[in-house]
Symmetry: C2
Subunit: 255 residues, 2 copies
């Protein structure tokens, strides 16, 4: 089995490494950016191009892993072939391939990827969807070579999974960023937060987030909340603090 990568960003890079480790041969890498295309191609030992017209038709698998707003255009530009075309986007429907590909599907890895951090794919939940039973079966077999957690999920439900991931990852990381900014104002290093951050994540392995919730907002302790609001100069951040505190309290009294 061989695979061509359309897009060479964080997701493509991690997926490509995992596929290579699983014995799948890389055929070609396309990226609009020569630096990205050549870097991934070098890792994989295959050719690369920045022209979609130069993508060769003979691969078994075409993985489109690009920004959402570039996906449909690229799919339209690649001439139909006999390979299985898949994308890796949480919020994009599988049916964007309809009329362009003969065999298609989605493989959505529920994880946050940065090129510089190695990750074991075996622990990453992979959510797949195929256009036909045959496509689904091929994707399932492929996904199981990469991960111990493979599930079929429709495009409709995958959108909610992506929304949940934005809260659990992107918004969480932003909470870390805001905490770090508050500490920086006091010349306290970010590192002091790491045991707290780790334990906050570890707790929800054993407790539900509702059981794990602590702090002033859960009991809507106005004394502490008002004192803390008074420490925040930025009006937008003050509003964010107020809204999240209200939301915590609301979930506590009416989950």
């Amino acid at each position: 089995m061989n695979v061509t990568f359309i897009g060479a960003g964080n997701v493509a890079t991690h997926l490509a490494r995992a596929l290579q480790a699983a014995g799948v041969t890389a055929e070609q890498v396309y990226s609009r950016t020569a630096a990205s295309a050549s870097a991934l191609a070098q890792t994989l030992g295959c050719g690369w191009t920045t022209e979609i017209s130069e993508v060769r038709p003979g691969a078994d698998l075409y993985i489109f892993s690009v920004k959402d707003n570039a996906l449909e255009e690229l799919v339209g530009e690649l001439p139909p072939n006999d390979g299985l075309w898949i994308h890796t986007a949480g919020s994009m429907p599988m049916e964007l391939f309809a009329g362009h590909a003969r065999h298609y599907g989605v493989l959505y890895p529920l994880q946050t990827f940065s090129k510089e951090r190695p990750l074991s794919f075996r622990q990453i939940p992979l959510f797949i969807e195929g256009a036909t039973a045959e496509d689904t079966a091929r994707l399932t077999a492929l996904a199981r070579r990469l991960s111990d957690h493979v599930e079929v999920l429709s495009s409709e439900r995958r959108r909610y999974l992506h929304l949940a991931a934005v809260f659990a990852c992107n918004f969480t990381n932003h909470c870390y960023a805001l905490a770090g900014k508050i500490l920086a104002g006091q010349a306290i290093p970010f590192d002091v937060l790491l045991p707290l951050i780790d334990e906050t994540a570890a707790k929800v392995h054993d407790l539900t987030p509702a059981q794990a919730q602590t702090g002033p907002a859960i009991r809507y302790d106005e004394n502490v909340i008002h004192k803390q609001l008074a420490l925040i100069d930025d009006p937008q951040l003050r509003e964010l603090y107020r809204l999240v505190s209200q939301s915590i309290h609301k979930e506590a009294i009416q989950p």
Copy 2:
């Protein structure tokens, strides 16, 4: 050295266990709630009371670990004695002890405590403050018996540390809760998020939160943001999503 606990909640329970393991003898436990007082006293093998007037004067250390709004009242009700009085609250000033205690200070552990989860105190950063150089020295010696990370921090700066902890822990956990609620609406178990939650926390050991930020908000991808907003029925949650996304984007372009 022996210690009396005023308050028997999560922080008191964890601190008491750590002190016991460090060879400090428990003298007495006070809590308004008999069940809490007796449970902690039983763990420690000491007496307990629900009457502040029955707290005995001879202990070396009195640890006030109660809700912020009960702290000042309790401090006023305990007759002065020769022990070192400390509290464990992030946002309360050390000087609330002035006029009530002869020796006093603060020991603030930067961690989230639930009674049911064991924790190693050695990794928990402890921030201390003493009324005099002598009180600070005694508190430093005590804190070093419990943790490898002991720092002196003023009440003024500790308030910001507590605010940062609310973001890094309480708000983060609420992001987990909201993610879980979104998944529950699709009958998807919370557990699928755990590898993502763990990696999000692990990333900021190696990268700054700004470097670790991923997702639609950082590039303010309006296409994805509007699609995701359309999935959220609750107007308050929609507003929270909008505000956090704006804040992520703002930090990305103007940190």
